[in-house]
């Protein structure tokens, strides 16, 4: 557990160093909406980091993505969440800039992503508003598409909103002129990865890591929801948190009903009515 905390604290620090460099370019990225091929990490879970839209040059966006991907992926020994048998890799998707409203993600595309074990696709838009006599004020809308949830929704299964949107800075927060403070939120990425990974592992019937990730998502989403978020974002986030909790309960029920689940499995110690008791 100490090791986990150390990894996350270290990641936060490294992101704080990385993001200012990257966001200088990100805020000036050119508008190139479109889906291009992005190869998923073979045999592993992937998170796609797509180019943000805005205005500016492609080279800056490319540099940003490279550094972000390197930071998230390489500098953490290939591990995002300290769960056994789960290896999540971050993939920088150059020239891939989905439409802000997510309309590019048709069922065929989502099915392909799900089959390639892509958990999350992150993209968004960064705006720079000029302020007289001061540095421009930055704002961003970041989109997080939880691929396994979207795939399930396409199969007409009941799920929470698979496309989560967060605006930075949050309502009521002081104007932000420093890009680092704007979107350096590894907690947000961590929460969505945990939710998507937990749900995907549940579908793959890897019950123990599924349960661990779903309960972890519940606590991280709760922490995000305590921030002053705008109306629909908050409602969607709370619905996702409830869905993660329900899925954790479903994981316990399915594990206990599965004859191949170990007789000494740890999930047998949990109460399905309070699936994340002690972990929230």
């Amino acid at each position: 557990m100490k090791t986990t905390k150390f990894i996350h604290a270290g990641l936060l620090c490294r992101l704080c160093l990385l993001v200012p460099i990257g966001l200088m370019g990100l805020a000036t990225t050119s508008a190139r909406a479109g889906i291009v091929e992005c190869p998923a990490a073979a045999g592993q879970f992937s998170v796609f980091l797509s180019e943000p839209s805005g205005s500016g040059d492609a080279a800056a966006a490319r540099q940003f993505l490279q550094r972000l991907q390197f930071e998230l992926d390489q500098q953490r020994d290939g591990r995002w969440i300290s769960s056994p048998a789960t290896d999540v890799r971050f993939v920088a998707c150059f020239k891939r800039a989905p439409a802000l409203d997510g309309q590019d993600f048709n069922p065929t595309l989502v099915e392909g992503l799900n089959s390639q074990r892509v958990l999350l696709e992150i993209w968004g838009a960064v705006d720079s508003e000029p302020v007289a006599g001061a540095a421009p004020r930055l704002s961003a809308q970041m989109n997080y598409l939880l691929v396994p949830m979207r795939f399930a929704a396409d199969q007409h299964e009941p799920v929470a909103a698979p496309l989560q949107r967060l605006r930075y800075p949050e309502q009521g927060a002081a104007p932000v002129q420093d890009a680092v403070q704007l979107i350096a939120r590894p907690l947000d990425i961590d929460a969505f990865v945990a939710a998507a990974l937990g749900f995907k592992l549940l579908r793959e019937r890897s019950f123990e890591p599924a349960h661990a990730n779903l309960c972890r998502a519940v606590s991280l989403l709760q922490a995000i929801a305590q921030r002053p978020l705008a109306g629909r974002s908050k409602a969607d986030l709370l619905a996702l948190k409830q869905f993660a909790l329900d899925s954790a309960g479903r994981t316990l029920r399915e594990a206990l009903a599965d004859p191949s689940y170990a007789k000494t499995g740890l999930l047998r110690l949990h109460d399905a009515t309070k699936p994340c008791a002690g972990q929230e």
Binding site: V36, G43, D104, G112, S115, R117, S206
Partner: protein, 230 residues
Amino acid sequence: MGTGPAGGGSVEERLARLEGLLAARPAQGWLARFAGWMGAELPKLLAAVVVLGLGWAIKDSVDLAIKQRQLDLSYSKEMQGLLQKLAEPAEMAQLQSTAVVLAAYGEAALPALLSELRFTGLRADAAEQGLAVLALRDPQPLCAALPRILSLRSRQFDWQVHLKVVRMLGEQDCVKAAAALRRYRELVQAAQAGRPERFEALVRQAPLAPAEEYPRLLKAVDRALQELAS
């Protein structure tokens, strides 16, 4: 002595009667006269006429086949540019429109589009759309080609391609593929039951999440079989 037409009388009388009889016989047809005139050369002439007739009859179809081959060759050269376009990194919409244009070449584009299925991701999705467009004109060539992918041992295709193939067979109403689908179902069912060797011998890479993917494949096969039965 004979009592026939030549019987009785002097030799002159008898000859006159015979000549009279000959003159009274109906005249021979031109064919008989021609055959009589050709004599032993007739069979050779008949053989020559038969060869000429056959040659005339098949000339058009041979010409047509040669022209078809020439057209296919010229299509191949034209399609090469489109295939290179599909291989380049491009937006999803552009790949799809390229595949649809490729499909406009008809049956000649079938091998190229099937080959594109090997590339998982946007290229395979575009190829699937191209094949669907191709089947709008005539689904038969597609229906004949697709079942083979489900039993190829060359391991060129992923299980995701199998999923696409199964769906296409159902959607295109490829009734003759029902037996191949049933055989494929047995393989997947065995794999799901923990005997994946025969299934894995067909795919480039085994499913990473068998507990999720095998039921998906089975569901798709069952749906396709239902579509074919209805």
